[in-house]
């Protein structure tokens, strides 16, 4: 399908397509900077590419056109994806895609922040992850990783001018016929800072709101409070050493990150995990999805005042944690998958234990459903609050439960099955209105489906090894290391030089707990990633937050945020 898409593009644009490439199943075309808006618009309007998944910057110092910007597009309706690349010399601008895709806004800001590539026509080209006093561009190859820069004060998101402007706009509304409101003066507006140190903002998100009475008339968000430089750290480590860093992306479901990262690197290596490893990945990934959803729902309910549910759900999570700890020695930061396999096999009695815990989970969910399903307060707080349509959600780059809540049954486990997901029977729950209520309910239903998958996977768990038989990626058994010179050398090279991933690039992705989690990997054939870009599902989702809460009240903003499940670790990376 994608192959034909490239052909169609060539027919349409002829010599304006400067190059095309196909690597590991990812199709891409290179175009001139000035043609970019044209090509993107064509892809959106005539090829069904509703979604801009990500924008990736790559630095090639020494090249005349130093930077490369890659736009990752996806068509959900026609099930194809394509990457559009442009090359750009230092200090020259790329035309912005903000007019075409709403998600482009933050993605381009990120490229600007970390690489210093300007985007012409971008409405709000500011730094996004690094603080406002930061100088230089952190992901350029010549920026030293350890060079920290102090920040003396937080950034003000609304200037006096912005506030005056907001007041004028509020008055324009009241000037409409049939609406009688008092005139709004700038001094009537109150700026309220939600976060970053606010219980509902998870300590790391910030939304500054302009209030007229209790209504939020304008909001601006700021992120980057726990930017921990995952991508720069990845360049500084070997491929295998990146694994523990992936734990801390979405720390509520570390196993999912582990598995998808391993898959992405395996794609570049051209190896496939063994059937047993795949099944184990499915089991631990679904367990992770469950505990992620549990935390999301219980925190969401606490934020809107329903504390009891927290205890019901958190106990289940705690109980699953204990099994995970038994499995890999750590409760939260599991570091369990390996490139080419798993760190070790399941422990004896794992399946019985997990089955019992899944029973507990069902009990917990049914207890909570009894408390909330027909609870007037819960319904008043969530139904119709923060609703978003499918088309808007797609343009904002929504994936995962938040997209499914709008009614679109899009799940990468079904649409692009990996790790043998096609062997399992499960449904893709959807909502109708894309509001807070539906987002919570979709997650509830997904946990039940995850349980179904785990039970099937446990039932049909293939026997055999968990690691591929490939000395390039898997450490030799200890007996070999101590007993033979080849073994020692193999171990030594894998540890010191790292897994030698062949030069090339590939985008590995899977269905994370919040949506499409992707790793865009570029290898130059040395033992370290040349570039690693994470596509965190909640980054585009949070970019829509300001618009979702405008016009609502502050308590609604809190309810909406909880239901979007923004995990700062993967948001800021």
């Amino acid at each position: 399908m994608s192959q034909k898409l490239v052909e169609r593009l060539r027919q349409e644009f002829g010599a304006r397509i400067l190059g095309e490439a196909s690597e590991h199943g990812d199709e891409s075309v290179t175009v001139a900077r000035d043609d970019l808006p044209l090509v993107l618009a064509h892809l959106r309007d005539h090829e069904g590419c509703e979604q801009l998944s990500d924008v990736v910057g790559i630095d090639h110092p020494g090249r005349q056109e130093r930077f490369e910007v890659v736009y990752l597009l996806r068509s959900l309706s026609r099930r194809h994806r394509i990457q559009v690349r442009v090359d750009v010399p230092e200090d020259e601008a790329v035309p912005s895609a903000c007019g075409l895709y709403r998600s482009a806004n933050w993605h381009e800001r990120e490229v600007y922040d970390l690489f210093g590539v300007p985007f012409a026509g971008h409405p709000d080209l500011r730094r996004i992850l690094c603080h406002h006093e930061f100088e230089g561009h952190a992901l350029r190859k010549d920026y030293p990783i350890e060079q920290g820069q102090e920040c003396t004060r937080p950034e003000k998101l609304f200037s006096d001018e912005d506030i005056a402007h907001a007041a004028r706009r509020a008055n324009e509304v009241s000037a409409q016929p049939g609406v009688v409101l008092d005139e709004v003066h700038p001094s009537d507006l109150l700026t309220v800072n939600l976060g970053p140190s606010h219980p509902a903002m998870h300590g790391a998100l910030r939304a500054e709101c302009l209030l007229d009475g209790e209504t939020i008339i304008e909001a601006r968000t700021e992120i980057g409070y726990i930017h921990r430089c995952f991508e720069k750290e990845a360049e500084d480590h070997t491929w295998a050493q990146v694994m523990p860093y992936t734990d801390r992306l979405n720390y509520c479901s570390a196993m999912l990150n582990n598995s998808i990262y391993a898959m992405a690197v395996e794609k570049l290596l051209g190896v496939e995990a063994t059937p047993r490893a795949q099944a184990i990945r499915v089991i631990v990934s679904e367990l992770s999805r469950i505990i992620d959803h549990l935390v999301c729902i219980c925190a969401n309910l606490v934020d809107i005042g329903a504390l009891t549910n927290y205890w019901y759900l958190y106990n289940v999570r705690e109980s699953i944690y204990q099994s995970l700890e038994k499995l890999c020695g750590s409760r939260l930061t599991t570091n369990y998958a390996r490139i080419g396999g798993m760190s070790h096999d399941l422990y004896p009695g794992f399946d019985e234990e997990i089955k019992a815990k899944l029973q507990e989970m069902e009990q917990g969910i049914s207890d909570v459903m009894k408390l909330v399903a027909r609870n007037r307060i819960f319904l008043d707080r969530t139904v119709g609050v923060g609703a978003i349509s499918t088309a808007d959600a797609l343009s904002w780059g929504y994936t995962g439960p938040c997209l499914r809540a709008t009614g679109l049954a899009w799940d990468l486990r079904k649409e692009a099955p990996y790790s043998g997901y096609d062997q399992y029977e499960f449904d893709v729950p959807t909502g109708e209105n894309g509001d807070t209520h539906d987002r919570i309910m979709v997650r509830m239903a997904e946990m039940i489906q995850s349980r179904r998958i785990i039970l099937q996977a446990l039932e049909n768990l293939p026997s055999g090894p968990v690691d591929v038989d490939d000395a390039r990626v898997i450490l030799p058994p200890k007996a070999k290391v101590y007993g033979s010179i080849e073994g020692v050398m193999n171990q030594f090279k894998l540890i010191y030089e790292g897994i030698q991933v062949p030069a090339g690039r590939g985008y590995g992705f899977g269905e994370g707990a919040n949506g499409e989690l992707g790793f865009f990997c570029v290898s130059d054939g040395t033992g370290h990633p040349y570039r690693m870009k994470v596509r965190p599902p909640c980054f585009p989702i949070f970019s829509s937050y300001a618009e979702l809460i405008e016009g609502g009240m502050v308590p609604d903003a809190i309810a909406i945020l909880g239901s979007l499940n923004i995990i700062a670790g993967e948001l800021d990376r």
């Binding site: 603080h131 102090e150 930017h227």
Partner: protein, 168 residues
């Protein structure tokens, strides 16, 4: 504290300092400065299984003005640092600080352009908890160590305890 056995009825003699510290020790109100993964383990610590209320510290307050024990759970970035400093300054004396996890203690395995190499670069820290993340048991142990410290303290405000480390 002592119960006077010589005298017939029910009263206890003690020193004021001890009585006050005894009260403080069992009613620490934690402020979770939870910013990253460690905050999830903080949630585990307060939930039923580990139940921080066994130690009298279950009244989690998100207002710095109402709490006296700050638990820094997570990575502090340079961007976050001025906020941490402000929140700490807003807490009333006496106050204590636990750096939960290696990130808050030393930057952990994030030695890079964005991560502050330990919260003690901006505010004084009383207790460092190892682990990435520390287990709830570990955090509870740190809490009991803070309690021991509270018991022995006078009325000296905590800023005066570490004059050299404030705002370093």
């Amino acid at each position: 504290m002592a119960v006077d056995l010589e005298r017939p009825s029910n009263f206890i003699t003690t020193r004021l300092r001890q009585a006050v510290n005894w009260g403080r020790k069992y009613s620490l109100w934690p402020l979770p400065f939870g910013v990253a993964c460690c905050a999830i383990e903080f949630m585990s610590t307060v939930s039923s299984y580990n139940d921080i209320s066994r130690f009298g510290a279950e009244l989690v307050r998100f207002s710095p003005r109402q709490s006296d024990l700050m638990i820094i759970a997570g990575t502090i970035s340079y961007k976050q640092a001025p906020i941490l400093k402000t929140i700490y300054a807003q807490m009333a004396e006496p106050k204590w600080v636990i750096a939960m996890g290696v990130c808050a203690s030393s930057g952990g395995f994030y030695n890079n352009y964005s991560t502050l190499q330990g919260a003690d670069h901006v505010i004084p820290v009383d207790m460092y908890v190892a682990g990435c993340p520390p287990t709830p048991e570990n955090l509870l142990y740190a809490l009991t160590r803070i309690q021991e410290r509270v018991e022995k303290e006078g009325f000296v405000p905590s800023a005066a305890r570490h004059p050299d480390r404030v705002g370093a």
